[in-house]
């Protein structure tokens, strides 16, 4: 079963194929919207809030997804697989310790 994933605010859509996580489907579709990091549930940069729809999740680092986040349906896009069409809001941020000066 294929599902449609919609990113709120960015007004971006892509298709998820069976067994694939949301982040790899976004990458596979050549779209940009969710930050891409470790793709293993460890770094937290791909965090999204699931506004609508059902999904299954594999193990995610507690450092980024604790019980409270789970209740709020704030999860890691690289660890969730859709079980219906999904509507997501991107909430992951990356800290910028090194500000590069462009030249």
């Amino acid at each position: 079963m294929r599902y449609r994933v919609h990113l709120e605010e960015l007004e971006l859509d892509f298709t998820c194929h069976p067994g694939q996580n949301v982040l790899e489907c976004m990458i596979g579709a050549g779209k940009k919207g969710i930050q891409v990091g470790c793709r293993g549930g460890g770094c937290g940069v791909c965090k999204v809030e699931v506004l609508e729809g059902e999904f299954t999740a594999r193990a995610m680092s507690k450092a980024h997804v604790d019980e409270e986040s789970l209740v709020r349906r704030q999860v890691l896009a690289c660890c969730i697989t859709p079980r219906s069409d999904l509507s997501l809001k991107v909430i992951g941020k990356i800290a910028k310790p090194i500000q590069r000066r462009c030249q």
Binding site: G40, A59, S61, A63, R101
Partner: protein
């Protein structure tokens, strides 16, 4: 400097979210040798083929990814005795861990670095060799000993956290490392990364500035040649292992490198090459006006993810 004092990074304990997936990655794909496992503690112990010590990588299943600790091997027990008061004089609390608490290991000293990382020192670990023996050893192990990414040994790690100048001072003043290279902000001259060596390698440990303490940037393994880096890259592609930065060369340290992630998001590197460092080699400094060439010298493009994605 004949190599005494701290010898090398000898053991890294990595937290993984799923032990079976970690075993597939580190043992089946990368080709590390699993020497022991502890089902109760949910740990796997591994070594690279050309290491003589019992293990160098410990994988521990946990609910967070990241780094448990790094441990450096020192020359002998007297080195531990001599270092303890010097570490305390630097201002760190040192705890003593009895022999045997860590398997196959002699006593350890443990303390927290100013960057927030747990670090240990030990002098003794059981040696099981590299399969060649030590008398008339030959040069080639049996077929199948060298496999996967063809990793020779654990090489270094990069740790992210605050207070990296203090870490640099600790490693130089107390542990007798040299500062081989440094990245600084072009204007403020603040340190952004410090590369430190206790050997003739360009680095044995490095620190990169991060707002949060105790972050894990990567652990790195040495390959024989740049050809082996490309071979590893082909296997990384075949097995769909997530890549952070594809084959390239570092400006800093000059290593031929590829960066990828384990299934829990911890970053790994395999690399070959680099220059020879001596204690009289001057410190090399790079600044933010040249972040591209400092990071990746074949395309001179700095990678945002390389500075911001950590576990």
């Amino acid at each position: 400097m004949a190599l005494r004092g701290i010898l090398r990074l000898g053991e890294v304990c990595i937290r993984v979210l799923d032990l079976a997936a970690a075993r597939t990655h580190y043992v089946d794909r990368m080709g590390l040798i699993e020497v022991m496992s502890d089902e109760e503690d949910r740990k796997i112990y591994c070594k690279a083929w050309d290491e003589h010590d019992h293990h160098s990588i410990v994988l521990r299943e946990a609910d967070e990814a990241g780094l448990d600790y790094v441990a450096f091997k020192v020359y002998d027990d007297q080195t531990l005795t001599d270092l303890e008061p010097r570490i305390q004089a630097f201002g760190l609390d040192v705890s003593r861990i009895d022999a045997g608490v860590y398997p196959k290991s002699g006593r350890r000293l443990e303390f927290f670095l100013p960057s927030g990382h747990r670090m240990q020192l030990y002098a003794e670990k059981a040696q099981i060799g590299n399969t060649l023996g030590t008398r008339n050893p030959g040069v080639m192990p049996d077929e199948g000993v060298i496999r996967g990414f063809r990793i020779n040994r654990l090489d270094h790690c990069l740790l992210g956290g605050p207070n990296i100048d203090e870490c640099g001072r600790l490693f130089q003043e107390v542990f007798d490392f040299d500062l081989s290279e440094r990245i600084e902000d072009e204007e403020s001259r603040d340190s952004l990364a410090m590369f430190l060596t206790c050997s003739t390698k360009p680095h044995d440990v490095a620190f990169v500035i991060q707002p949060e303490p105790g972050r894990f940037h990567h652990v790195s393994f040495l390959l024989e040649s740049a050809t082996d880096v490309i071979h590893a890259a082909d296997m990384i592609g075949k097995y769909r292992i997530p890549v952070d930065v594809g084959p390239n060369r570092h400006g800093v340290t000059r290593g031929n490198t590829i960066y990828y992630f384990d299934p829990s998001g911890n970053r790994n590197e395999v690399f070959s090459g680099g220059y020879v460092h001596y204690p009289d080699t001057p410190t090399l400094t790079w600044d933010t006006s040249q972040m591209g060439p400092a990071q990746f010298s074949q395309d001179n493009i700095a990678r945002e993810s390389f500075l911001t994605v950590v576990t």
